[in-house]
Symmetry: C2
């Protein structure tokens, strides 16, 4: 058993995974007794886990009425993406100033992977590496609170299965934006890096809108 942490923490981790993977559907009611039985634990640690998930926005607890998996409306996305754009823009800004030549090399290596997966039309791996890339940037920015807030929002965004890269042409755009970002970082142009990152996020929002519109039409 690698898992030596508390049952509460284990429950938090597992439920997050299930919520993000939509094994637990948005809006679904969570029955404490049934869920506890399913996880093989008692209600006490499970309830503590649900309180944590509630504070982090994954579920909503309606007093005396139960616990429900959170759902993100299109309106939420419209509100969250601009915030993310600001925060990640700030990250890019800091990285442009702080990163060492070595750091930039590591980023470049990740970017190369992105190019490769894009060329191979491997959307899943592209997403994966993209995540790692953004994560690495946050690490380099070295602002723990910024990192914390972005992390919260990122996890939340995953509640909605937005896969905007599936929109034709979007992956190429995304890649071009990443290229421009790497350029700005190498030039140590903080203002440009921030602006590019901002627009990168906002472009994702635009892509999501058109996907939603397309789905609406169908």
């Amino acid at each position: 058993m690698i898992n030596k942490s508390s049952l509460c923490q284990q429950a938090v981790d597992l439920l997050k995974k299930r919520i993000i993977s939509h094994a637990l559907a948005p809006g679904q009611r969570l029955d404490e007794a049934a869920l506890a039985m399913d996880l093989g634990i008692s209600r006490t640690p499970l309830r503590e886990a649900l309180k944590i998930l509630s504070a982090e926005g994954f579920v909503h607890i309606k007093p005396r009425r139960g616990c429900f998996v959170a759902e993100l409306t299109p309106g939420d996305l419209e509100e969250i993406f601009p915030i993310m754009a600001m925060l990640e823009g700030r990250v890019a800004h800091e990285v442009a100033i702080k990163a060492t030549a070595d750091d930039l090399k590591r980023l470049a290596a990740l970017h190369e992977k992105l190019e490769k997966h894009a060329a191979g039309h491997d959307v899943d791996r592209y997403y994966e590496v993209n995540y790692v890339f953004h994560d690495a940037l946050q690490e380099l920015a070295g602002n723990r609170w910024l990192q914390h807030m972005i992390g919260d929002l990122r996890r939340l965004l995953r509640l909605s299965r937005h896969r905007s890269l599936k929109l034709e042409g979007r992956q190429q755009e995304s890649l071009a934006e990443h290229r421009a970002l790497m350029d700005a970082l190498r030039r140590r142009d903080a203002a440009a890096a921030e602006e590019i990152m901002k627009n990168h996020l906002l472009a994702q929002l635009v892509a999501l809108r058109s996907m939603a519109a397309r789905q609406e039409a169908a």
Copy 2:
């Protein structure tokens, strides 16, 4: 008794107050049994409350070692203020665009109160109204997620008793910045409003720094 909510929620609210007011000192260990006894509840709802407070950053839970009141280091302030500056800047931006003439009148009324308390050297009331003013702005911006995140950070900041307005001259500066903000809002100059608000927050950070330096010297 107006208070009909769960014991857990009551505990959360009360503990927040105690932590913010420093009735519970930063770094202090919270003994579950003793605290539960003190609050007149059992450990079960108290533990749920502590989990929530932990997720919101008010306390840190070290597994099997206990729960400790969080403390903000000067480093944390240096990280948080720039984020706040961005977020509140964004709020100002949105308000400049969205606010109706009526909204602006309400804000102006609040600003008048600020001027009055400043003239009367009533620092406490100035802080109070200042809080209401910023809160009103967030309301007008109408971005619930932005509001949520700013709210979290604001409460966190109150962990450190930073009273930068006590620095001589700072209150007058603060007032001037508020005046400039109102001007920009009336002119519907979103970019200017955003910039002014950003600098308003960053100026607070600078004031805090010099207070810390002064305290260091003493």
